[in-house]
């Protein structure tokens, strides 16, 4: 059966096309007709509908995301900014890091294991496509109430999916978040981050220059994955029943992805790749239009050449298939034999499916007929842009007015501490993290339960350049050379992700800033200097003006805070439509911060490392309980305003922490966040089973449970304390001596005393009891 061709489109100009079923609006469809000067073919409609979808075109968010660029602070570290597959930052000594966070929320609700697994797979391919070796992953997760039946279905599946896929790729998992809130029931958030390493001069871009260069599709074959939409097209256009049932679920093959990683790195090392693009959402449509648009502007593709897992696939379906573990490369004709040989070595199927042209047209054929003939930039870059209306939610003022002042304060602070410490959001996450390999690649300096993950930068992690013999290191197995052992550097990178949906619900502007501030602080407490930002913006429907207001406020807040803190946004992802009916999730901007440390030997652990150390609190504590864990856990209350986002204080605090680490003044350093000082103290005791005795001067309830930002808990050797205090004074960071480490209990003089063993039981018991 032949496909809807351009010729046919010319001869049947009025044939109705199912654009609405594909989620396209009438005016968008009219614009396609205007661009083409005729009705689109089924295949062209497939391309435009996916490329102009919210997911690919950012049509609702674009106008707001621009601020990340227009307000971006000057940063010499930024090598590649927003707009590429992932941003790239200079981390010194000729090394660069590329990192990005991306959501796979909805698929993880439908099929938790596969949804989460393919989320990891997708972000890893983004990082690979920059020319980097992926070196670690992280996962920021949000679920409904911990004891909700559906959470029992979703959480174990999601964790298993991330565990299986990430472990199988050999990528250490160095951090993340697990947060429960009833607002995420039906809309869990699965945000996966990947970081990669490359030499500064090895950055690859998604581009297809050079007419005559070959277009190679390699990796898994194409099947009917995630093409619910396309089936509408195939059946509507052709009345073909067999296409009605197509799976919306994509299944991942981490083994194939591992082969792809090694294969790509060897291809880069052999210098046989001119341009490269991963296939994610919108698959072949996206890869071909984007590569062509950024290159010489034209490409011919024979869709019959795409290797299929299911031979019944129609061209429209091939174009929209989201089959995983595929990449597309642009290769000089003379390099094709070398390219194919490397793919064969790694058992990675590869097929030439087309060629770069200078016609300015993306032309695709099927059974010898032209079925696509479009200017690729119109699909890739010139999608619709919406200025969606927004307006403050009707209940916002009332929400802010309902402050926690009316909540009854606890009489028994010991019981309150234990209640919070054992609550699902604050309890130990080992049930999750012990399912992740955190050691593979042997460069993990810090992982759970540290505030930030940290990796040593090591030569063998990065792709090796072509040696003088024209042979890459990865070829050694054949050539009989030995492993080269450039010594690892002392340099390291640190990464943290954070986000608090309750804060953002109370004030999306401040909430986004607090998310950045916390991730920034989590990096700084390890001794690393924060450098750059990625973000994943999880929101409800952009068609709801109240959600759009949250989005506008959050992006404005984040962009402003990035400018103030001097850390540019390098990339990210927007996930809209996280809502059930009219009930949207809390606005949840998740922010990832990457930092550098010159010498990983100077990294600072988060807990109490020994007896007799001075314990101090940095930063000021105000009475701030809006959106706090205490209000949430004890009173089920959400109202008032979130803690103040004092960015100047954050910056001064980070400066002190990084300087102090560099000078070896700190034994331990832990950021204060959810649950306040009480939880930070408990966690510090739990790290090595070392207790502490501290004294609080003011109201102990506020002192222990307020969630004021810009604070950290540090431990200092007594003989270094004076120098440390002087450093704090120099940067005007308040430093309050609290007490001293030692013993086997946490003692707050005159307030509470809890044996560390009891803290441990409370902290570790919760998730196993819930999830088995």
């Amino acid at each position: 059966m032949s496909a809807d061709s351009v010729k046919r489109a010319h001869s049947t100009p009025d044939e109705p096309m199912p654009f609405a079923e594909l989620g396209m609006k009438q005016d968008e469809y009219d614009r396609v007709k205007e661009i083409l000067g005729r009705r689109p073919t089924g295949s062209e409609l497939a391309i435009y509908s996916v490329m102009w979808s919210e997911h690919c075109s950012y049509k609702s968010s674009k106008v707001h995301l621009r601020q990340f660029a227009t307000k971006a602070p000057k940063s010499e570290a930024l090598l590649v900014g927003m707009g590429e597959n992932a941003g790239v930052v200079d981390i010194g000594d000729g090394w660069a890091a590329t990192f990005k966070i991306e959501s796979h929320n909805h698929p993880s609700y439908v099929e938790p294991h596969q949804g989460a697994a393919t989320g990891v797979g997708g972000i890893v391919r983004d990082i690979m496509s920059m020319g980097a070796r992926p070196i670690a992953v992280m996962d920021a997760l949000r679920f409904g109430a911990a004891d909700a039946p559906d959470t029992r279905r979703v959480l174990p599946g999601v964790v298993e999916g991330i565990s299986h896929y990430g472990n199988c790729l050999g990528l250490p998992n160095i951090g993340g978040e697990v947060v429960f809130d009833p607002c995420y029931i039906g809309n869990p958030l699965v945000n996966a981050l990947c970081v990669g390493l490359l030499r500064k001069d090895q950055i690859k871009l998604a581009t297809a220059p050079g007419p005559g260069n070959k277009v190679v599709l390699f990796g898994a074959s194409t099947g009917p994955d995630g093409i619910g939409g396309a089936s509408v097209l195939a059946s509507a256009t052709f009345e073909d029943e067999s296409h009605a049932k197509r799976p919306a679920v994509q299944v991942g093959d981490p083994f194939m992805e591992k082969l792809l990683i090694e294969c790509c790195l060897e291809l880069y090392a052999a210098d046989v790749v001119v341009g490269i693009q991963d296939l994610g959402a919108a698959g072949v449509s996206c890869a071909t239009t984007e590569l062509a648009a950024k290159g010489t502007g034209g490409m011919n593709v024979d869709l019959n050449l795409v290797p299929l897992r299911d031979p019944s696939l129609r061209p429209e379906e091939i174009l929209m298939s989201e089959s995983q573990e595929r990449m597309m490369a642009v290769v000089r004709p003379e390099d094709i034999p070398a390219f194919m040989a490397i793919c064969e070595k790694w058992d990675v199927p590869a097929t030439v499916i087309g060629e770069v042209t200078d016609t300015g047209r993306l032309v695709m054929t099927w059974d010898g007929e032209v079925i696509v003939d479009i200017p690729p930039g119109t699909a890739a870059d010139e999608g619709p842009v919406y200025e969606r209306p927004y307006q403050e939610p009707a209940g916002q003022a009332a929400l802010n007015a309902d402050t926690p002042d009316r909540l009854e304060r606890p009489a028994d602070l010991r019981a309150t501490l234990l209640r919070l410490l054992g609550s699902p959001n604050l309890a130990g996450k080992e049930w999750v993290t012990s399912q992740y390999d955190r050691y593979v690649r042997s460069n993990t300096v810090l992982a759970q339960p540290a505030d930030a993950g940290m990796l040593r930068i090591s030569e063998v992690m990065a792709p090796v350049r072509r040696s003088s013999a024209g042979e890459s290191e990865a070829n050694e197995g054949r050539s009989g050379r030995t492993h080269e052992h450039a010594e690892p550097t002392t340099r390291g990178i640190a990464l943290a992700t954070d986000g608090n949906g309750r804060y953002a619900k109370l004030d999306p502007y401040a909430g986004a800033q607090l998310a950045l501030a916390e991730a920034y602080r989590n990096v700084a407490v390890t001794g690393a200097k924060p450098l750059a930002v990625t973000n994943c913006l999880n929101f409800g429907s952009p068609e709801d003006p109240e959600v759009m207001w949250q989005f506008a406020e959050a992006t404005r807040g984040l962009a402003d805070a990035c400018r103030t803190l001097g850390v540019p946004v390098t990339g990210g992802n927007v996930s809209f439509y996280n809502q059930t009916g009219s009930a949207a999730i809390h606005p949840t901007p998740v922010v990832g911060v990457l930092g550098v440390i010159d010498d990983v030997a100077r990294r600072v652990p988060s807990g109490f490392t020994g007896e007799g150390l001075r314990v101090a609190l940095l930063g000021d504590t105000r009475e701030e309980f809006g959106g706090s864990e205490w209000a949430h856990v004890v009173h089920g209350h959400l109202g008032g305003l979130p803690p103040q986002a004092d960015l100047a204080a954050e910056q001064a605090l980070a400066t002190v922490l990084v300087e102090a680490a560099r000078h070896g003044l700190l034994e331990g350093s832990h950021d204060l966040s959810d649950g306040g000082l009480a939880i930070a103290l408990a966690e510090a005791c739990l790290a090595r089973g070392v207790g502490a005795t501290v004294t609080l001067n003011d109201d102990p309830f506020i002192g222990l449970f307020s969630e004021s930002a810009a604070r950290a808990l540090v431990t200092v050797r007594p003989e270094a304390f004076e120098d440390f205090a002087a450093l704090c004074a120099e940067h005007e960071v308040p430093c309050y001596g609290l007490g001293v480490t030692g013993g086997d209990a946490l003692v707050v003089e005159g307030v509470l005393e809890v044996p560390v063993s009891e803290l441990r039981e409370t902290h570790t018991g919760t998730l196993p009891a819930l999830f088995g």
Partner: protein, 226 residues
């Protein structure tokens, strides 16, 4: 004298090969990459079969790798006395290849587990454990979903009676029979263990222990004295 040469095997899906090579290098030996598809052991003095998910661990861990061309060379060489250490997936491959008895099955918890695991060295008269004291307690990371060692009752009895349990868990993480974490063949040259010594060789990175070094210094000592 030229350095001892320890082959490190890479199968499709092997993950810890670079880590193992680093550890070999760290003790002053030379790491020689061995490729699964080659019929060539490159004249190495010993072989390290690293962990990972060779062939995705599809079908059964190690089931497909065992048939690699390299294994055609390795199996007879190991039978003839070549020292071989298999860790994690490497252990699974050694069992599938029948160089070691028994099998590694799904953890009793049904979960993959990554943790710092206390262990006891039960047999230090092997090529890979001589640097430890008999009965010495060490800590190494484990990270596996299928590490529960099982074998017939006769095999277990024989392993115990002949001192072929090389390593035992202190606190069983996966339901292994008799807490077995590692075993050796009769000759003591082929050893398979679930934990990962290559992740416990440096202070700053990996597990909070350097107990893994002993496996590498053991083999180095053996090769240099040979």
């Amino acid at each position: 004298m030229s350095a001892a040469r320890v082959g490190v095997v890479t199968f499709p899906g092997t993950l810890d090969d670079q880590d193992a090579a680093k550890a070999v290098h760290l003790v002053g030996a030379q790491a020689v990459p061995l490729w699964h598809a080659d019929h060539d052991l490159k004249g190495v003095d010993a072989v390290f079969l690293p962990g990972g998910f060779s062939y995705g661990d599809y079908l059964r861990c190690g089931a497909i790798s065992r048939f690699a061309p390299l294994m055609d060379e390795l199996i007879p060489a190991a039978r003839a006395g070549l020292p071989v250490l298999g860790t994690c997936n490497g252990f699974q491959i050694l069992c599938e290849a029948h160089l070691l008895p028994g099998a590694l099955t799904r953890n009793a918890s049904l979960h993959y587990v990554c943790r710092d695991q206390p262990l006891r060295v039960e047999q230090n008269a092997t090529a890979w454990t001589s640097a430890f004291g008999q009965g010495q307690e060490i800590v190494l990371p484990i990270k596996h979903g299928e590490g529960r060692y099982v074998a017939s009752a006769d095999t277990i009895a024989e392993l115990e009676a002949t001192g072929r349990v090389a390593l035992r868990y202190v606190g069983n993480p996966n339901g292994s029979t008799n807490d077995i974490a590692g075993i050796t063949n009769e000759a003591g040259n082929v050893v398979g263990i679930m934990p990962h010594p290559e992740h416990a060789v440096e202070e700053l990175v990996g597990a909070p222990s350097t107990d893994g070094l002993g496996f590498f210094t053991s083999i180095l000592k053996k090769l240099v004295n040979a």
